[in-house]
Symmetry: C2
């Protein structure tokens, strides 16, 4: 179920992944899943999405295999990112990088750093100090709304 | 004029830039502007957007200072990316990277490479061979739909 036009068969790799992922609510839901929030109510409160908005996105994200239920069949089961869902991290980082690049003095409430060396990351997916990629296993976030304490990103390793 | 909810005052840098940029049509319009297509008719034909869809996006992108008219005031003036618009490149690359990472055998019609060394880029914004950032001035694209010939990205240096 695409949220808008169906580009799931596009050969342009930008169009193909934009199909579900180029949506503000989907990005905020991914942000919260990476931050360890997994239940419908938690996701609703943290994103500010209406129930119907959130439910529609979670359905599209499940069909796109970005998220799955921890207990498939249980009505109130929490959600978690799949391996593919964890590959969306550079997209979130690219949006954050754009805000900082175009408004360096903004009141930005998210700091991205490398879990190996601690360097604050300027790239969406690369630690230049380690000369290695930054992925969901090697990235720390600190969010002002969560006390500015760096934390590891939630995984699919439960 | 936000396309959906107004997050232009959000302190989360993901939400802030998602305001206008997390939209499939906006991403395709940016793709075509980087590819050197600048006129309304060219953008419409290359993206497949309806006139009303394209006009609404170009208005939002102009208000967000991502694009501007080459001849302000002229009704049929072409569009071009502003300096801020050129900062969106890593977002496009992050979407493309996601498609390749999750479906390596897909029929992908876009190759991103470093203009300095020729290395095909895997990162959204970093050339690991040059140990330097990949931005609109240092990136080449080759698109199958445009003959697979590498080209420099269109700039605001006109």
């Amino acid at each position: 179920m695409p949220l808008r036009s169906d580009w799931s068969s596009a050969t342009c790799p930008i169009a193909r992944s934009a199909d579900v992922l180029a949506d503000p609510w989907v990005l905020l839901i991914l942000r919260e899943l990476f931050s360890g929030r997994t239940r419908f109510d938690e996701l609703r409160d943290a994103t500010g999405a209406a129930d119907s908005v959130l439910a529609r996105r979670l359905t599209a994200m499940t069909e796109a295999a970005l998220v799955e239920r921890v207990e498939p069949g249980a009505a109130r089961s929490p959600y978690r990112l799949t391996a593919a869902g964890r590959e969306t991290l550079p997209i979130l980082h690219a949006y954050a990088r754009f805000s900082r690049a175009t408004d360096p003095d903004g009141p930005w409430g998210l700091t991205v750093s490398c879990a190996r060396c601690g360097e604050v990351a300027l790239s969406a997916d690369w630690c230049s100090r380690c000369d290695a990629s930054l992925d969901a296993d090697t990235t720390l976030w600190a969010r002002r709304s969560m006390g500015d304490v760096p934390f590891s990103l939630a995984g699919d390793r439960a």
